[in-house]
């Protein structure tokens, strides 16, 4: 008999904390009015605050904690998608993420010991950013806080919990609790970014239509020296996990995320005990591989979707608005992308350069995106956790065909990785909108150009520079817009898919707003008025 194993734990992460500072509101007789107040210092809230800071809008951020991460170093999200990375490039933290995180683009799906499907997301990319970088969520939040502090344009208020929010006439009234007492403030726009269990949503009486899965999983974040490929590996039915699914992903600090599907009747306490988690790891890694635990966390996923993302002056972003199962990295990434969709709209509305209705386009674009993510991820969960004998039989049939035939491979659904969702046609986007990747342009990149100020850029393909400058000055002062000539042979022109002589109107969030076939002062002005909810001039 071999001696029992000793299970080692890595020392806990030391996360930063920031001090509570008594705000002026506590000493003010009347509520102070702010343009934007964000509740929740997670990915969505911090991305929005940072985005607004760069656009010259001072936001107040209220966070009930004084650090990053969720209850210590338990990592939640790990996979950050290209569109999110492009946003972070614009916000100025991409290099830190790249240096610390793990860049990957290849995913493999296995059944038993055999690969049945693989993909390389780099094949569809022309961006300066890779398809994905893996990084523990708290690092990302940490970098965002440091960037926000560096920009000195945001009022970060720690240990500040929102008790109550009410819509009033053209603003929201917000009651806040702090270690030094309570106060009330007024917000032109109040953003609920407090996450899946938002008490603000509950207090406002907004139905979230939740549902909960019975599928049970257990994350084991672990450090070991056995070299494994830096790829996303998913087993549909792993021989080392009693024929259930397993995920294998690499992230910063040499930590592997191994996520095991468990028997749905299993006791979460029992399956997350170190000796039980250790046996699973030993079965996967084989004998003789030393490892140490970083974190063990059992979970069941849930989902919800609000009917409307805007109620008066209150706007819901990230998990407070929508939650999906984790397969495909469509949670945190969509909170980040919600924030990037909303930031420029709030900035232009507050500056009086767009109609107040522009904020409704946030719902018109991000609600369908969330609904699509819910549909896509629910399909994945039905593949991973067949609900009955028929669903299991169909999956078995698919897997056996996938071992022989190409067509069946791509039906094996262990998660469809997050992409920048396309937006449906609307009064702001007559042809719908699609994301423009961060391609190199004129010695810089699209995102770096868009980061300079809050404006649209009209890329006039095949036009001469003087022609573009003349049209730019004809429209100067009327719209936040820059006109630039680009050659038809450039990567950007080809990626935009716009014919020579036409103009691609790109929004501040790098979505294509419109294609203008015969650009002149009248046609471009009409497109801008539509995109910004501005009244048509008489």
């Amino acid at each position: 008999m071999s001696s029992p194993e000793i299970w080692k734990f890595a020392p806990a992460y030391e996360l930063p904390s920031w001090p509570f500072v008594a705000p002026p509101d506590l000493a003010s007789a009347e509520p102070i009015r702010y343009p934007v107040v964000i509740a929740g210092g997670g990915l969505a809230g911090l991305t929005l605050a940072c985005d607004l800071a760069l656009r010259g809008i001072r936001a107040v951020v209220l966070d009930d904690d004084d650090t990053v991460g969720v209850r210590g170093a338990s990592s939640r999200g790990i996979c950050y998608a290209q569109k999110s990375l492009e946003i972070f490039e614009r916000l100025g933290i991409y290099e830190r993420i790249r240096a610390k995180g793990i860049t990957w683009s290849v995913g493999r799906t296995l059944s038993g010991d055999d690969e049945i499907y693989s993909f390389n997301l780099q094949d569809e990319s022309c961006s300066e950013q890779p398809p994905f970088i893996n990084l523990q969520q708290f690092y990302l939040e940490w970098y965002l806080v440091e960037r926000i502090l560096e920009l000195c344009a945001t009022d970060l208020r720690w240990k500040s919990r929102v008790l109550r929010v009410d819509n009033d006439d053209g603003h929201a009234l917000v009651e806040v609790e702090t270690p030094a007492g309570r106060y009330v403030l007024e917000a032109d726009w109040f953003i609920d970014a407090t996450g899946a269990s938002s008490s603000i949503r509950e207090q406002m009486g907004i139905e979230s239509h939740p549902s909960r899965s019975t599928d049970r999983w257990c994350i084991t974040d672990v450090r070991f020296k056995k070299p494994l490929p830096v790829e996303r590996w998913t087993w549909i039915d792993a021989p080392f996990n009693e024929g259930r699914a397993v995920w294998q992903h690499f992230m910063a600090d040499n930590v592997w995320r191994l996520d095991y599907q468990m028997d749905e009747r299993a006791d979460p306490q029992a399956i997350s005990r170190p000796e039980v988690a250790g046996e699973r790891l030993r079965a996967q890694l084989g004998p003789g591989v030393e490892f140490e635990f970083v974190w063990i966390g059992p979970y069941q996923y849930r989902d919800h979707l609000l009917e409307t993302f805007r109620v008066g002056r209150v706007v819901f972003v990230g998990d407070s608005a929508h939650v999906v199962c984790p397969f495909g990295a469509r949670g945190g990434n969509n909170g980040i992308q919600d924030a990037a969709n909303l930031g420029w709209k709030l900035a232009l509305v507050l500056r009086g350069e767009a109609g107040v209705d522009l904020v409704d386009s946030y719902h018109a674009e991000r609600h369908p995106a969330a609904a699509e993510n819910l549909r896509v991820t629910t399909r994945t969960t039905r593949f991973l956790a067949p609900r009955n004998a028929a669903e299991r039989r169909i999956r078995t049939a698919l897997v056996s065909l996938a071992r022989r035939h190409e067509f069946a491979r791509r039906l094996a659904n262990t998660g469809r990785m997050a992409q920048a969702n396309a937006y449906p046609p609307s009064r702001w986007l007559p042809e719908g909108g699609r994301s423009v990747q961060n391609v190199a342009v004129d010695g810089a990149t699209l995102m770096r150009g868009l980061g300079e100020s809050t404006r649209f850029v009209g890329f006039w393909v095949g036009a001469g520079a003087p022609e573009a400058a003349a049209l730019g000055s004809a429209l100067a002062g009327r719209f936040p817009l820059e006109i630039r000539a680009i050659e038809a042979s450039t990567l950007l022109a080809r990626h935009l898919g716009v014919a020579s002589g036409s103009m691609a109107l790109v929004r501040p969030d790098a979505y294509l707003a419109a294609t203008i076939e015969r650009p002149d002062a009248a046609t471009v002005a009409e497109a801008m008025r539509r995109a910004l909810s501005l009244e048509v001039a008489a």
Binding site: R393, T396, A397, L398, S400, L401, H405, F407, A408, L411
Partner: protein, 68 residues
């Protein structure tokens, strides 16, 4: 979705399909049919036709509506 006869040798197809199930237990037969559906679906390759076929197969559980 085609509903008029379209299989050149219908009886031959039916026989070959039955033969394929020979010697299989109920579970194996179910999996065979599921594999067959997947292979045929890829031959058809038309989303609307596939969805119409699924709906028609499901609807055939019920007695046909009387044509009055």
């Amino acid at each position: 979705m085609k509903t008029e006869p379209n299989i050149p040798d219908g009886d031959g197809f039916y026989e070959a399909w039955l033969d394929a199930h020979e010697g299989l237990d109920e579970k194996e037969s179910g999996e065979l049919d599921a594999r067959l559906v997947l292979l045929l679906a890829n031959q058809i390759g038309d989303q609307q036709v596939l969805l119409d076929c699924i709906a028609a197969a499901r609807a055939a559980r019920d007695p046909p509506a009387s044509s009055s």
